[in-house]
């Protein structure tokens, strides 16, 4: 009996941990429930976002305050990635096309996690290749780190043979409302149709 005690303790601990995870999941699910306002104003809403100071593709300073007044679709990525990042930006461009006249109410924002290689000049050449007016942002490594921290975005350099590197990074498209509040998010698996559908509801 006494020998079973540690085992039972572990079982209880595992169950408790399971409940905690389920609870967190339920909380997230509720927060992200499809309300007209999305997660804006909820606890989760205020946990994502925050102040940043970066420069755009023309070398102009852009802060979080400059994003107010329009909806923003924010994606962190890097231009040396020809596979996933263009896919996300293209999905955004297609989704925006489906918004019709409301398209101008949404501003796509691409924030690099690779400031070392992504200078304003590189960003400019990159985003002009897409069929959407994308605001592309970079900065010093510290400035980019601060922006990423606010959006809970993880990124790390992954060295490859020959001195090259790729970037591991959180792949999330954040929807921020015109007051700069986190409202909804999409993953790289969200289709342009899903993104458009959700945006239409939010903009209604």
């Amino acid at each position: 009996m006494a020998r079973n005690l540690p085992g039972r303790f572990v079982l209880v601990a595992v169950l408790l941990a399971g409940f905690a995870i389920l609870g967190a999941g339920a909380f997230l699910a509720l927060s992200l429930h499809d309300t007209p306002r999305g997660a804006a104003g909820t606890l989760l809403g205020s946990a994502i976002g925050g102040p940043f100071r970066l420069v755009d593709q023309d070398g102009k300073t852009v802060t979080d305050a400059d994003l107010r007044g329009k909806w923003s679709l924010i994606y962190f990525g890097y231009t040396h990635c020809p596979d996933a990042c263009p896919t996300a930006l293209n999905d955004i461009a297609i989704a925006l096309d489906e918004l019709g006249p409301k398209r101008s109410a949404v501003r796509p924002v691409f924030i690099t996690v690779d400031p070392e290689r992504d200078t304003p000049e590189v960003l400019k050449a990159y985003v002009t290749a897409f069929d959407a007016p994308i605001l592309a942002l970079t900065g010093t490594p510290e400035e980019v780190a601060q922006a990423a921290k606010g959006y809970r975005v993880y990124y790390a350099k992954h060295p490859e043979a020959g001195g090259d590197y790729s970037m591991d990074h959180s792949s999330v498209i954040y929807v921020m409302d015109p007051e700069g509040r986190f409202t909804a998010s999409f993953t790289h698996q969200s289709s342009p149709e899903e993104i458009a559908e959700r945006l239409k509801k939010l903009l209604a």
């Binding site: 040396h80 596979d83 930006l89 050449a125 792949s171 999330v172």
Partner: protein, 149 residues
């Protein structure tokens, strides 16, 4: 041996050669994404089908200094790009490289890939040897190859 018989025998040889051709590993639907003016890296995708199990070992193209097999992996919400040593091609099952999965990274482009252009890509397989295909360049964010032109 009559001339007729020789002709018949020859036609059999040609016919079996033609049959063997379609029974070999094939690479189709090769496409790439156009790249911005200063991009250093590009990406190409193909569909590979082989009647017998094979393995894609390497890729090369004159448009880039090197071409590598890459795979996108997800660890939770974190996206990672990792080189692949090789890619298994199961017998009779087409393997389609596509965005957000396996792809051929063209590293150190000699110049931008422009929509509408095409370029050669050589793939080396463990058993089938090499195949050179013509890659069609699509839009920068294209999700797949354009319908047959």
């Amino acid at each position: 041996m009559s001339i007729k018989f020789l002709a018949f025998a020859a036609s059999l040889v040609f016919a079996s050669a033609a049959l063997a051709q379609t029974n070999q590993l094939q690479v189709n639907n090769a496409w790439a994404r156009a790249t911005p003016a200063k991009a250093e890296n590009g990406v190409a995708y193909v569909t590979i089908q082989s009647p017998t199990a094979d393995r894609l070992l390497s890729a090369a193209s004159p448009v880039a200094k090197k071409a590598e097999l890459h795979m996108m992996e997800m660890a939770g919400m974190v996206m990672k790009m990792r080189p692949l040593a090789s890619l298994d091609i199961p017998a009779g099952q087409p393997v389609t490289l596509k965005p957000n999965g396996e792809h051929i990274m063209l590293m150190g482009l000699n110049g931008p890939l422009r929509e509408g252009q095409s370029f050669p890509l050589t793939l080396t397989f463990e058993k089938a040897g090499t195949r050179t295909v013509t890659v069609a360049v699509e839009k920068p964010g294209a999700a797949g190859p354009a319908p047959q032109r």
